[in-house]
């Protein structure tokens, strides 16, 4: 045992001596960041570039050919080609943008959800945050917890609940409607019903998320601004219009941009609740990409659609930031 202790003492001494010089050894930070960057390069950077590359090709099948082989002394790195491809130039893009009516339909469906859902959710989220921020409301914590609860539900899990709720025959919603004397609605059986079902479901899931962010934003508004406005005789509406809104602007902008990005990436909800139907009335862009890529294995074509999706989302975000940012 003493020998072990002696050895470990020696080791510690060695290590200590070594460490005293370490702050100046430039290698240390690279050791810290390299595991991150290895995975980052392999699974994020490379695929991004490869998608762009793939979008100019037609995919013919898997390939085991070697694309590039690098020999560094005893180490030989062979990069496989991965796919058997045929260069088609811009024709994937041309077909998508001008001739693919199903892709246009998915753009329309996604845009429709975007135009209804984002204002609805941000509006109700803001109203909720304002009420929860009001002085006269008690049990704020309890209300906040209950309203935010859907944030903890998984996307597919909550979608199955809405699939059942809005079921045309046995769903609770249609039961309630008939009880109050309204004709049952073909929620999932009609195009507009299915679109609104998606809007309602997504709003249910994300309202609390937006409310939490907006509430935190409201709580950073300096109290003196409200007091100053009160001295000037401002009413409730004027305080909201001239103090709250301008102060909340960056947070609102974040919520709008994040919701926009989220809407354009909708996949689980239409996949589970509507299956993209009826007759493609609710197919979203990502769902279309999924079908092209993994049902018909048009990987090059689907890559081009992904690139277009990223372009749309980027342009929308930039426009929103330009329009809603500081003057």
């Amino acid at each position: 045992m003493p020998a072990v202790r002696q050895a470990s003492d020696q080791l510690r001494f060695l290590r200590q001596n070594l460490s005293q010089r370490l702050p100046n050894i430039p290698g240390i930070p690279y050791i810290y960041i390299s595991p991150f960057f290895i995975l980052f390069g392999a699974f994020l950077l490379f695929p991004t570039v490869y998608t762009l590359y793939l979008s100019f090709f037609e995919y013919l099948g898997v390939s085991n050919d070697i694309l590039l082989s690098v020999t560094m002394g005893p180490i030989e790195v062979a990069i496989p080609q991965m796919a058997n491809l045929e260069f088609v130039g811009l024709s994937n893009y041309e077909r998508l943008l001008f001739r693919d009516s199903l892709f246009h339909r998915s753009l329309f469906n996604t845009s429709f959800i975007f135009f209804i859902q984002v204002p609805l959710m941000v509006g109700v989220g803001l109203a909720t945050a304002l009420v929860l921020d009001a002085k006269f409301i008690r049990a704020k914590g309890l209300f906040r917890t209950l309203i935010a609860l859907p944030v903890a539900t998984g996307l597919v899990a909550y979608s199955t609940i809405f699939l059942l709720l809005f079921n045309d025959q046995v769903g609770l919603i249609n039961y309630i409607l008939t009880q109050v004397g309204v004709e049952p609605v073909a929620w999932l059986g009609s195009a507009w019903g299915a679109r609104f079902t998606l809007v309602i479901a997504v709003t249910w899931r994300w309202l609390g998320y937006n409310m939490i962010i907006l509430l935190a934003g409201l709580q950073t508004v300096p109290q003196q601004l409200y007091e100053a406005a009160e001295i000037d005789g401002a009413g409730r509406w004027q305080k909201f219009r001239y103090v709250t809104l301008p102060q909340l602007r960056p947070v609102l902008l974040f919520v709008v941009v994040a919701s926009t990005i989220g809407t354009f990436q909708l996949f689980s909800e239409p996949f589970v609740i509507t299956g993209g139907g009826p007759s493609n009335a609710t197919i979203t862009i990502v769902q279309y990409i999924y079908q092209r890529a993994f049902e018909s294995f048009d990987l090059g074509y689907a890559s081009a659609a992904s690139v277009i999706l990223v372009a749309i989302v980027s342009v929308l975000s930039i426009v929103q930031i330009q329009y809603g940012g500081d003057e």
Binding site: L45, T51, T128
Partner: protein
């Protein structure tokens, strides 16, 4: 003065009505899930529908388990989500520590480069990742799902922001006392970062727990299905058993509800830290 008071009371009343309505709208779907999971299959198509929970949860669960191996799916989800969270925490906190507390060449460009990738949607990566995993024979493996987003741009960003708050003097005096550089990381940086690590692990865990599109592409063997995949399988089946689906759904959401209710401050910190404005 009296009309002023009446106005106040009206606002207060309206506020509560608004909040209670929202709470009801949030709770009805969850309550309905509970009802559907606990009534027998035979009563499912009854009209009017049953509005009160039954006692058939266990037998519905047995039917579910016979139909798809849901326990196995829960196990898969737990293994994948936990290993992903731990791996990502290690990678992000180590790299974040270097970016916050060391000087090195290309530090700024590298960091802004990572930040720029925050905006890339995952859909952009699915097709090449699929080809890659097919090529190296990793489809239907845990690793194929765990590794790709472990190097998480949001994670490294949060870690770096928070680790900047660790005083340099603290690290310097530890160096004086003979701590190795690595000890600075796991004995000083990590313990002081516990709240941020908790918030980040909730984000990471939840993202992986509910991940759908990528696992759907990579995991085709039902034995490897995660919870969302098993749910989608049930929904897409020839005959849809809503009682079984609702049992599965309640098993999927209940653990997260418990985490949410018990660790709400970290949950909210996680949501808010994802929204930090630059």
């Amino acid at each position: 003065m009296r009309s002023q008071e009446r106005k106040e009371a009206l606002w207060k009343f309206g506020g509560y009505i608004f909040l209670l309505t929202l709470v009801a709208l949030v709770m009805i779907p969850l309550y309905w899930m509970l009802v559907a999971a606990t009534i027998p299959q035979s009563e499912f198509f009854a009209w009017p529908p049953r509005l009160i929970p039954g006692t058939e949860f266990l037998s519905n669960f047995q039917a579910l388990q016979e139909n798809v191996n849901f326990v196995r799916s829960m196990g898969n989800s737990i293994i994948i989500s936990v290993s992903y969270t731990i791996l990502s925490l290690i990678l992000c906190s180590m790299a974040g520590f270097a970016f916050a507390k060391y000087e090195f060449r290309f530090k700024e460009p590298l960091f802004y480069f990572i930040l720029a990738t925050l905006v890339l949607p995952i859909q952009l990566l699915i097709i090449p990742l699929f080809l890659l995993m097919v090529q190296i024979g990793w489809t239907n493996s845990y690793l194929a799902v765990i590794l790709p987003w472990a190097a998480n741009p949001l994670g490294i960003f949060l870690m770096r922001q928070n680790m900047k708050a660790i005083p340099d003097s603290l690290l310097e005096s530890a160096r004086m006392d003979g701590a190795t550089e690595f000890q600075l990381y796991y004995k000083i940086a990590l313990p002081t970062m516990l709240p941020s690590l908790a918030a980040l692990s909730i984000i990471l865990f939840l993202n992986q727990w509910q991940a759908f599109l990528y696992p759907l592409v990579i995991l085709q063997d039902p034995q490897m299905y995660t919870i969302p995949l098993a749910l989608a399988e049930l929904v897409g089946a020839q005959r849809v058993y809503f009682d079984q689906i609702m049992v599965a759904t309640s098993l999927a959401v209940t653990p997260i509800f418990i985490v949410f209710l018990t660790m709400q401050q970290y949950f909210i910190k996680g949501i808010l830290s994802g929204s930090v404005k630059q």
